[in-house]
């Protein structure tokens, strides 16, 4: 048997490293006893590849028995250089990049970026109503699907696998709606500067109404399974405690902040995209622990469903309204359709630009290859993503490419609370605390 460098223990510059895989845990205890220095700390690495660390997160835990004395996060395992890549693409192409950051809530990434660009372009008041309503509809559907994944993976991490299967079952319903409206299940580059890329397809409103009716029957299942479940409560109550002062000092926003009882929600306090016209409540809980955050997420799904219902109602009255800004120098020109050989420019659009209007052809060509120019300046417009405040600091130098696009991702900031939440608790509580923060590593590392 060849020597396996990943088995057993070996000496390194940092000291002894034990690699254990199961049924040989006592080798650590013996090894420590051999070392003679009983005060040596045991630093356990919950490495980037782990089923329960919510993505490629590396947790470096210093343990004393089962108690965590120090917890540090190692991040950067998913750093993609998206922000730098965006500097080499046009403003509209930037949407396709930023949508892949926080991959569980792609519409929010797109929205924060697009709101920043629209503010720089000074067309915030010119976005057509139908585009605004569609944006709200898609964002709230995304909030439902993101919270479902949080609850599903959180449940899986503590061992409640049924929550995972039913969570993903409901999420499929949302993804079907996304596919119908935007063409893709995930990472849709649909919200673009000036509006949305495409109008609602026929039949979408009926699908949305069916979805709402079905969700009203399915959402109570989660409450029935978990809310009063003694094992669930025992694992989640009083775990990951962080009060209001701690949240504000560490810059946490989103369900974690609202679990302290403070009703801060950007959709209410600094509304964008017409949120002031919708009737919904900001959900809070007052226990500052993981259980509170779980209850908030459940309640927020109900509120999102309410908003989706109102948005669908408004869309029914906006048949035929434009979905892109009227200024032809900015509006995305093409319309896509599914043809006999796959998806591409709709034949109507091609007939229009090739046969009917030279200006349309020129606009299409210039906007797609070169893109529009954004006046110099900087803007920061945050949105309330399912995880907290997500904002894009967009800097333009007057050109057709972003000079700098930096995303203030909520998971990046929220994850700083891991140490505060975990130290002094047990190892199993670290998992629960992180699951209640709900970090998405794509957003953390960008």
């Amino acid at each position: 048997m060849a020597h396996d460098i990943y088995a057993g223990s070996n000496e390194t510059t940092e000291g002894r490293v034990f690699t254990v895989t199961g049924q040989d845990w006592d080798s650590i205890a013996e090894g420590l006893a051999d070392a003679g220095d009983a005060d040596e700390r045991v630093v356990v690495n919950m490495g980037p590849q782990h089923p329960s660390t919510h993505g490629v997160l590396r947790l470096i835990l210093e343990l004393e028995g089962e108690t965590v004395t120090e917890a540090r996060c190692g991040i950067g395992y998913l750093h993609t250089g998206i922000e730098k890549n965006m500097e080499f693409r046009s403003w509209t192409q930037g949407v396709t990049f930023c949508t892949r950051m926080d991959y569980l809530s792609p519409f929010y990434n797109e929205m924060s970026y697009v709101l920043g660009v629209e503010r720089l372009l000074d067309i915030e008041d010119d976005i057509p109503e139908k585009a605004q309503v569609m944006r709200v509809l898609l964002m709230e559907l995304n909030r439902i699907s993101s919270h479902l994944v949080c609850i599903a993976t959180g449940g899986m991490e503590i061992g409640a696998l049924t929550v995972m299967t039913i969570g993903f079952r409901e999420r499929e319903l949302v993804l079907d709606l996304f596919e119908l409206i935007t063409g893709l299940r995930m990472n849709h580059a649909f919200i673009r500067p000036g509006g949305v890329a495409q109008d609602l397809p026929p039949g979408a409103l009926d699908e949305i109404r069916d979805f709402i009716a079905l969700m009203k029957k399915r959402l109570p299942e989660y409450a029935a399974l978990c809310n009063a479940n003694p094992v669930f409560k025992a694992r989640l109550e009083n775990v990951g405690h962080l009060d209001l002062a701690g949240c504000l000092a560490l810059g946490l926003t989103g369900p974690v902040l609202r679990s302290t009882g403070y009703p801060w929600d950007l959709r209410k306090t600094q509304p964008y995209s017409g949120y002031e016209d919708y009737d919904f409540e900001v959900q809070t809980w007052d226990t500052c622990d993981s259980y509170g955050r779980f209850r908030i997420r459940l309640a927020e799904m109900w509120e999102s469903l309410k908003i989706v219902e109102q948005a669908a109602e408004r869309l029914a009255r906006l048949e035929g309204a434009p979905v892109m800004v009227a200024d032809k120098k900015i509006a995305w020109p093409s319309q896509l359709a599914v043809g006999s050989d796959g998806m591409g420019n709709s034949l109507d659009h091609i007939r229009h630009i090739m046969g009917e209007s030279m200006e349309a052809l020129i606009h299409h060509f210039k906007l797609v290859t070169e893109g529009f120019r954004v006046p110099p300046g900087q803007a920061y417009v945050p949105v309330e993503s399912p995880r907290g405040e997500l904002g894009a600091h967009v800097v333009s130098d007057g050109g057709t490419r972003p000079f700098r696009a930096h995303f203030r991702d909520p998971s990046f900031t929220n994850l700083q609370a891991t140490s505060v939440m975990s130290e002094g608790g047990m190892v199993a509580d670290v998992i629960v605390a992180i699951a209640s923060i709900d970090p998405v590593m794509g957003g953390v590392d960008r």
């Binding site: 950067g76 560490l250 810059g251």
Partner: protein, 242 residues
Amino acid sequence: MSDEKKVEQPAPEQSPENVPAPAGEVHPVGSRQGMFGVRGSGDTSGYGGLVQPIVYPGAAQRPFGGWHDEVADALEDRLRSDGLEHAVEQVVIHRGEITFHVRRDDLVAVAQLLRDDPRLRFELCSGVSGVNYPDDAGRELHAVYHLLSMTHNRRIRLEVAAPDADPHIPSIVGVYPTNDWHERETFDMFGIVFDGHPALTRILMPDDWPGHPQRKDYPLGGIPVEYKGGTIPPPDQRRSYN
């Protein structure tokens, strides 16, 4: 790019940014040559000789309008009583957002005031964003802080500049602990050293990575891609249209 260039256009009402600025106040940061992204020889567009200065929004004049005046007054008051009158170099208001350009030595004091004064009360810092302006001589590295006041429900921005030769900016982790990782990220990506940070190390790139990736002089780092019958160079070396 000379500082005395006056921007004159015959039809200011057609485009607001063409309104002539007061003499001596136009500070171009870099310039753009040609059009359509064509660089070097092979520019048959006829626009090859075009040189446009890049001019960012200039200093705003009092009165600012709305709550901007309140905040600026309160800040000015406190700065004066603390002997830091010259901490704020410039106030820029663009698209309804107010930016205070702060001298880097006074940054911590200004941040403390902004957080603690009851008229200001900016409790939440949304993080640091680094920007590299290679053409802004002596001020190449900017750190931009976005502050949110939940009590008064408003947002401001602080901008601090440091030269490439001395990329140090005082850390405000003592005032806003949330900036811990944000400052590490800005150090990692731009090389801005935040003095006073408890543990300034790389956070996104591997610990021994050379260089600071998001600086403008760092290449995008892509590789050429092979297709059937040809090879496409990486995005920063391709023929571009913008």
